[in-house]
């Protein structure tokens, strides 16, 4: 059973001023964790810190199944953790299927061609995100939403145990956003750990089963959504506006009331 553990993680763009500090959490397989918080609270930085990209300074411990993620070889790490930033560059002159196949990179040598299995996985990933019909379309001719779906498919084709997504629903319409969160929920049900930042809790239905609330680089709450959202005062203080988050029905999705529900 996979488990991602973050212990006292601090992350920054310079060594002496962390943008995120003291983050600790344990995420078991099968869970979708929504990382929420106002702009500048450190959501994206946290994801970068988990992977410890060049130019990022981090301290603390991140382990996947008790193995230190920061000490893993890059290829080994890439086979276990995938990442999608909020605005990845769109490579020109590549079709959707070629772009998705780039996600197979950690599974083959740098100069080898795509195998039949790679192509099968890439096509399946495109179908999973509902973009199978785009496979031969050039990515630089796509809308922002289409491009987002293709990038998500590339992440899925990487076939990892953990997926880190920075605002995965941005640029997506209601239908595709709902489909995306349903997909993330299904992936979690297959044992994959999902960590996704989001500003749009209401777009995610009830896909996530953990919430990490960040403010000014610190973790203010981590736990079940009911637990985190129960304190309207905390959310109101974090977002600097009266705020409530409620379920639409006992098993329904979450609805956000900025300004309060009354």
């Amino acid at each position: 059973m996979s488990e991602l553990t973050v212990k006292d993680l601090s992350v920054g763009y310079t060594a002496d001023s962390p943008a995120v500090s003291g983050i600790s959490m344990e995420i078991a397989e099968g869970s979708v964790t929504a990382v929420i918080g106002p702009n500048g609270s450190g959501k994206s930085t946290l994801l970068k810190g988990i992977l410890c990209f060049p130019g990022i300074h981090s301290s603390g411990l991140v382990t996947l199944d008790s193995v230190d993620v920061h000490s893993m070889k890059r290829t080994q790490r890439a086979r276990r953790i995938a990442y999608l930033p909020q605005h990845p560059p769109v490579p020109a002159g590549l079709t959707a299927i070629e772009t998705v196949l780039l996600g197979r990179f950690p599974h083959r040598s740098a100069w080898s061609n795509d195998s039949g299995k790679d192509i099968e996985i890439a096509l399946e990933a495109l179908e999973m995100v509902g973009a199978g019909h785009l496979s031969q379309k050039f990515t630089d001719e796509m809308s922002g939403g289409e491009s987002r779906l293709v990038n998500l498919a590339a992440v899925l084709s990487q076939k990892t145990d953990v997926i880190l997504l920075d605002e995965p629903g941005s640029s997506l319409d209601y239908g595709h956003a709902a489909q995306l969160w349903k997909l993330l929920s299904d992936l979690a049900a297959r044992g994959i750990i999902i960590l996704a930042t989001t500003h749009r809790i209401e777009m995610s239905g009830n896909a996530f089963n953990k919430v990490l609330l960040l403010s000014e680089g610190r973790s203010l709450a981590f736990g079940e959504p009911e637990e985190v959202f129960s304190s309207g005062d905390l959310l109101s203080a974090v977002y600097n506006t009266p705020m409530e988050v409620k379920r639409s029905s006992p098993d329904g999705g979450w609805i956000v009331f900025p300004g309060g529900s009354s």
């Binding site: 060049p54 130019g55 999608l84 930033p85 560059p89 780039l102």
Partner: protein, 310 residues
Amino acid sequence: MKRTLEVLLLLAVLGIAVSLVTGPLGWRAPSRVIMYLRLPRILLAITAGASLAVSGCILQAVLRNPLATPYTLGISAGAGVTAGFIILSGVTLPVFIVYLSGTAGALAAATLTWFLASRGSRDHSSLILAGVTVNLLGASVLLLIEYMSPASRLVEIIRWMMGDLAVAGYTRVLFLVPFLVAGMIPALMKTGTLNQFLTGTEVAESRGVNTVRERLFLLITAAVLAGGAVGAVGPVGFVGLIVPHTVRRLAGGDYRRLLPLSALGGAVLMIWADIFSRVIVTPAELPIGVILSLLGGPFFLYLLVKKPTL
């Protein structure tokens, strides 16, 4: 890809045939002229064109800039300064040493660019800024050399900067081949990595690419290719810009196709530019750099209108 390959091969074969019979006496020229003047010239055009095109191709991915060329790293300026010093000094050096000094200047400039960029994060933006700085520094030093040079040497420097494919024998080709091999083999082996650079540093890292190490390796590869070519034919421009862009539009952006096709495209462009340089003002010759600049200017305009892609 197949169609592009066929067209480029056809243009290459045609170009070689036309080039062999272009010049005084045409196809009736003595075999010595063909063997020791025209054939080595064609081989030089092929090797230099392939080197410059592949170098540009690599840099556009690594620097994430569609307008990056081998000269973005300051290679032209570095080679120009060393060539300028040698010409100004008036010393007579063995030809191999002359070529090598141009290459050494080019590689030294690329190294300086890398170290200047290390003041920042060595990402694509800081490398481009450092390259522009080195280019400006080199241009000002070259200007000083030109000012200090007597008229005859000044003409020689300017003429060298325009590029030259006129050869007698195979010395220059033999000089360039090791650089071509040393650059081309690693470049072809890294096409998958180059594809990952298209997706940005963070995504490439998350897929297992050591972006810092690979960026340095690919910059060295590009500098070796361009440095060798500049040493052999002078700092001719635009090949590294025109060819990758054209091939990208014809055959797509996958570097596993783009890179080898660009090598062929670079060879084709240089062969035909050389033919035109010999026929436009026949019996005299225009420097190849002039022909390529005449092509490069409108090509930039085309990119401006079409929006360059990467």
